[in-house]
Symmetry: C2
Subunit: 462 residues, 2 copies
């Protein structure tokens, strides 16, 4: 694999802006917030993921001599003074980061990550932060939906071959586990993140032997305690009968094509009639939350699901439109809130906190996005916590299994109407009165036409 | 960034199968072919990409001691003899690879890559090959559509922040360039692949100054020859007027929101009235091939397009359903074609060649998929070439700019009905009579129900 250059894993404009800030001696401290304006149509909540990779990146961010050499010869940087490249050679991220912890449900307009740093630093990290948080949060959120649909049956992430490359495959596995899957087929995610890994066999293995039973016998001999036999290469039900007739007792059989409800019933019958009550049925094949919900509703005797393409690409909503917006500039001791008034893209000024309110039964009832300095509603819980100060991590990275436990536990506190696969409920999120007043004051002071920001619920991606 | 483990960038079952082949002494030589069964509904052709990364992976594939240690302690490998792990420590890919070169149009059912190697090797590389070829081919194909829609105007890939992580962002940029884009915003792709990189400025830069004109002046001072000014932070047309009034002469202005057809006309008028005839208008903001085609049809005076999310995630079709199927097994001197008869997933046996036929004007008229050994139709061109032999690359890696030239030139030879953004034409692809006979013979000899494979044109993803 190619060596990577984290400092150049960015859009060119982050670097041209850095040069322009540097040469114009703009040294203000900036605060940016990363948030998703609107949830996609078929999403009622997000599960935050990717923060751990962001913090690792911020701690390790350096420009190598190769990186600097590339920029020096780039046509856009012709005429940029050498002092700028020296600045890059010295570059360290020294800022403060607040974030909603991984595994936490979050909603439209809520800052998931907030970065305060000298403007060059805070700007430069935009692309990496967005690519990382957008992607992993999208996958964790999709996984949570699939896990909800499976209603207690295990879901294994199986989509590496359709993920957007092999690094994406590894982080899909990480984020899917954070979102509640029991594991993945991706071995690298097992090594790097401790995600439990599972595997069965491919059709090619069955085809490599003269007959199906020989393939099953050979595989079972190698993996006596864990063999999962793939039984749809030729004829699913016939293969189940052959297993019984051959006296095999596989822990699991896997169906991967055809009418899974019907086939699972027929196979269950064959297995039970043959005394293989302990053999579990694992099903895969173009599954997603809707198909799983329908199999569960039909009472299909399936014990666990493998979900591939539609999870690993978040197929129905393959991008999360997270943005990273300047909300505050601090020059000497003057702090200025910042808003943008582009059509349909109005922002809210200043550092924010998200407060989550709960009812007496612990169920979440709604969120308030307030200014960072005002008190939250009575008994509400602040969602953003400080995770980095002076470029150094605060606290230890959470164990990924603990992140998964967190997401599963917090999902239980969301209203049922939100967790339903076809739910249309919109979780209530509002801005505090003080924040709304502050935004209106700044919008009216701007050169552009005044436009009121709307919070909105889920809507189509735009 | 985390260290990667290419050998473990795979599904666990590739490794469990390897162990089962090893312990059962299955040493046959296998041939697998990677192909896409059906094109997605809104795709009339594919542009092959990703082969270079595949060949690099095959050349460098090794198991590190860390990889082996991870597998040895994995519950699935309990009881697998130590000799298997020694085999992994010695692992080298020694096989032969044929492929359709990068930048070539290809179609449903056509082998894009064909691997012949000892079965353990040929199987083990499946996940990496699929994740790489599926992903990059999907992006190059989407890019080609966008480039067609832009009808000669430049298209810059801008979607890193919504790509599926930062490695995906880099390969999106590579594949989009291979598919005809003029460049990318992704700097790492510039460093690693020589893709031309472009950048403008963000809204935050404009907002960091007390007024818009100061931001424009400062940025132009740093980049006198290349500044692209973003003019939609507050009011697009007003910003264009300010640029004229301030006597700035930016090479480019960028629109990023609102009605791009209307705004581009108004901005063009302001610029022309101010004598800025040389200033180009660059437009971005949720663009894709359909929106670009409609802007072009409306005669919007836009000189170049930046395309982000919808290109970098192939938003309307975010997965390509490529599969990697066993087609032949060779044991001693006996060669056996292999087919699978699972419902809806019938395969064709043996090593294949794809022949492309052209009319007198050079326009391609249709493809024939034949057995590897039969001659092609008169004057037809073979598409698969040998790219690796004995685990060593044949020839030198092509320059990426040459791959792009190839794709642009070959696109010109496709029927116009195929290149149209809303085209419904299906490019004719058929199997040779000999291949069909061979498949029928093997299907009838199989244990499962006989099902005829259908070639089919584009259809919805399944």
């Amino acid at each position: 694999m190619l060596p990577r250059s984290p400092a150049l894993a960015t859009d060119l404009y982050e670097l041209t802006m850095a040069a322009a800030y540097f040469t114009n001696r703009v040294t203000a401290t900036a605060t940016f917030e990363l948030f998703i304006r609107h949830l996609p149509a078929a999403r009622r909540y997000l599960i935050v993921a990717g923060l751990e990779q962001v913090l690792q990146y911020l701690e390790e961010l350096r420009f190598s001599e190769e990186d600097v050499a590339f920029l020096r010869q780039h046509p856009s940087f012709r005429g940029v003074p050498e002092a700028f490249f020296d600045e890059l050679r010295r570059f360290r991220f020294t800022g403060e980061v607040w974030a909603i912890p991984e595994g936490t449900p979050a909603f439209q307009q809520e800052p998931l990550v907030r970065v305060t740093a000298p403007v060059i630093q805070a700007q430069l990290v935009e692309t990496f932060l967005l690519a990382t948080i957008n992607f992993q949060t999208m996958i964790a959120s999709k996984a949570a939906r699939v896990v909800q649909a499976a209603a207690g049956r295990g879901v294994v992430e199986f989509g590496s071959r359709r993920a957007h490359g092999t690094e994406a495959a590894m982080y899909v596995a990480r984020a899917a586990y954070a979102g509640g899957c029991v594991g993945t087929s991706n071995v690298e995610a097992g090594l790097r993140f401790g995600v439990p890994t599972f595997g069965t066999m491919a059709h090619s293995f069955v085809m490599a032997f003269d007959d199906e039973v020989t393939a099953f016998e050979r595989f079972s001999a190698t993996f006596p305690g864990s063999a999962a036999l793939l039984i749809d290469t030729y004829d699913t039900v016939a293969a189940a009968r052959k297993i019984v007739a051959a006296g095999l007792r596989p822990p699991t059989v896997r169906l991967d094509s055809g009418d899974l409800a019907e086939l699972s019933r027929a196979v269950r019958r064959v297995l039970d009639d043959g005394g293989l009550h302990e053999t579990r049925i694992f099903a895969s094949g173009d599954l997603d939350e809707w198909r799983i919900a329908s199999l569960v509703a039909a009472g299909a005797p399936i014990d666990a699901f493998g979900v591939g393409t539609r999870l690993s690409t978040s197929f129905d909503e393959p991008a999360l439109g997270g943005v990273y917006k300047l909300v505050e500039l601090q020059l000497d001791h003057e702090v200025r809130g910042k808003v943008k008034t582009s059509a349909g893209k109005v922002t809210y000024p200043g550092r924010k906190q998200v407060w989550r309110c709960a009812g007496a039964n612990g169920e979440y009832t709604g969120d308030v996005i307030g200014t960072g300095s005002e008190p939250g509603p009575l008994d509400a819980e602040p969602m953003l916590v400080c995770v980095m100060r002076g470029g150094q991590r605060v606290g230890r990275p959470p164990d990924l299994a603990a992140v998964r436990e967190r997401s599963l536990a917090l999902m239980e506190r969301l209203p049922a109407g939100l967790r339903d696969v076809d739910g249309t409920m919109v979780y209530p999120v509002r801005f505090s009165d003080r924040l709304v007043r502050e935004q209106q004051r700044l919008v009216q002071a701007q050169p552009g036409p005044v436009e009121r920001g709307t919070l909105g619920g889920p809507e189509s991606h735009s």
